[in-house]
């Protein structure tokens, strides 16, 4: 999205993050260990100021959980989150309060993300009141200012959410996220629930705001078209882990992980002349309750090898800023001899 992000300050660093949810203990068989849902199972990445990093994956991959851990709406089980160099993984309530100003969220469902019993003005004003932003008398003006930043007229201040269309509600959600002047916004499927024509409007709005305010985005999405248009880098997630990470164009042009390849091949292209009929990926996305051993993807992988069942592949570098976790990329002589196809 903007080349100056390349050398800007490191805003967010996530190191081997894990979030496990305990599942209810079985009643009988007391010696049985507690089952865990490993929603996020060892994720590491970094994000620079002004950059947009996309997390893509299907249901159960853990991208939403990861987003909430970063917002500290959930507390991580293991690992580290550093914001501007400070370890915020287990930050106490007081510190969290301050952090909330810096990291905000936009939700997917415009119909459920605004309190139906509050007016738009009240919703936008609330964070200003909580944090005592500016003198109280100014706050109404700050609210209308926020509304205009997202392209809504001041009169919407007095309306209720149900009087607004989905696209307008999403604009309000964006305005609410901007109220405290954050540096990082976690956008959880920000346009998935919107019509195509409105999607374009909202994406343009987000791009403009990013330019104006130097915002960084962590974009969580399953829609690869949106991701390609809007993000600088992409991390592909599968069952709690990042299987491939690359600059956006690089990922789309040169995907190396079999899952990424399958994902890209699955997208129905909006061009009837490009009608392929590749064999789609077999099977279902597995449940995070019972992940397969070794490489999580091996049961569905068309190139699975024996070692994939036993070991979890590490990151293999493909190009600058591009890595994938797949044994196919193991270039060591032993692996080549065993039949791993380099590249």
């Amino acid at each position: 999205m903007n080349p100056r992000a390349m050398n800007s300050e490191m805003l967010l660093e996530v190191l081997d993050l894990r979030k496990h949810f305990p599942v209810a203990r079985r009643l009988l068989g007391g010696a049985g260990s507690r089952k865990m849902v490993r929603a996020v199972d060892g994720v590491s990445f970094s994000l620079r100021r002004g950059e947009t990093l996309a997390l893509v994956g299907e249901s159960g991959c853990g991208k939403s959980t990861l987003g909430r851990c970063i917002l500290r709406l959930l507390e991580p089980t293991q690992g580290e989150i550093r914001f501007r160099g400070e370890d915020i993984t287990h930050a106490p309530a007081g510190r969290l309060r301050e952090l909330r100003r810096r990291i905000q969220i936009i939700f997917q469902d415009p119909y459920a993300s605004l309190n139906p019993r509050m007016t738009i003005g009240q919703i936008l004003r609330e964070p200003l009141d909580i944090y005592n932003e500016g003198p109280s008398a100014q706050r109404s003006r700050m609210v209308t200012d926020l509304l205009s930043r997202v392209g809504l007229a001041p009169r919407y201040s007095h309306t209720y959410p149900h009087q607004l269309s989905g696209g307008q509600r999403q604009r309000v959600g964006i305005a609410a996220a901007l109220a405290l002047e954050p540096e990082l916004i976690v956008a959880d499927e920000p346009v998935s629930a919107l019509d195509l024509s409105v999607q374009a409007q909202i994406l343009n709005l987000l791009a403009r705001l990013q330019q104006e305010y130097g915002l960084s985005f962590l974009l969580i999405s399953h829609d690869l078209g949106v991701v390609r248009h809007f993000s600088d880098r992409v991390a592909v997630m599968y069952l709690g882990r990042i299987v491939e990470m690359a600059p956006t164009e690089e990922l789309f042009v040169n995907p190396r992980h079999p899952y990424t390849q399958a994902l890209l091949a699955s997208i129905p292209q909006p061009d009837p002349r490009l009608r392929a009929d590749p064999l789609p990926l077999a099977g279902e996305p597995p449940s995070p309750l019972d992940p397969p051993a070794g490489c999580h993807f091996h049961p569905r992988c068309p190139h699975a090898m024996p070692r994939c069942r036993e070991h979890s592949p590490p990151h293999y570098d493909v190009a600058a800023g591009h890595y994938a976790s797949c044994f196919l990329l193991d270039q060591t002589p032993a692996a080549a001899a065993a039949g791993g196809i380099p590249g």
Binding site: G167, A200, Q201, R208, I267, P270
Partner: protein
Amino acid sequence: MRTLLEVRNLTTEFATDGRRARVVDHVTFDLRAGEILGLVGESGCGKSTTGFSLLRLLPSNADIVEGEVWLDGEDLLRKSDEEMRRIRGSRIAMVFQDPMTSLDPSFPVGDQLAEVLEEHRGMGRPEALEEAARLLRSVGISSPEARLRAYPHEFSGGMRQRIVIAITLACDPQVLVADEPTTALDVTIQAQTLRLFRTLNTERRHTGILLITHDLGVIAQLCHRVAVMYAGEIVEMGDVEAIFTRPAHPYTQALLASIPARARGRGALPAIEGTVPNPMAYPSGCRFHPRCPKVFADCPQLRPQPVQLSPGHTAACLLYGR
């Protein structure tokens, strides 16, 4: 190809708060055997309501106020409720959007399949169960005999959607209406389901499929012909290639231009200003005129009629005549 379904001037209105909203307005199209016709548009355009109107599955506050739906020479709108009940499921069937709620959670899937077979094809239970297993296999569910006894909650979303498709196919209907069949599914599962539709279409040349969706990618990959809806009307209709490569109606053009996947470069997406109109208060004249980049003086005054641009390709826009 034989014409199976002829829809003429279908008009459906909803009554709310004492006023009427014309959600489907004089919709006219044909569906031929072996064809997949895509009905595409954004929310509020009336495409789903059109689908429901064909099966006469409308809620109590909705009425079909005008039109004819000819299925193989019989007007479905003139049928009694009892007759319609016999036709629904056997000659014209529907796949709904949400596979989670389309199946009855209290009964094993085998029973739900068998019920349709017993009801519409007069089979006995053992015969019906055999056929049910065969149907499950045909939609790609392995070990179907064992899975007959399983309950819906034991299947994932993608598999449930296949079971629903199997149920609709049970009576070999002439027309299959699919309302957003893959919207609720993950991308890789969507690909599997789309492939299933393609296979079904190849195998059952006597069936016509009406595919209702907002997803232009799905349309491009599956459909032979496309009808674009806006504000209750079909604004453009034609072969899928014509629609995607030579879109004539400004709405179709704008819609295609706003797809992120088709955007060139990273600049701002060409977005359509404004929002979809409220069915209770459609704009005068051409309903798209307040948002149209090519609007001119006549547009708010005159209601455009479909104009033939080339064989099989029509557009309702004053740019091409009245």
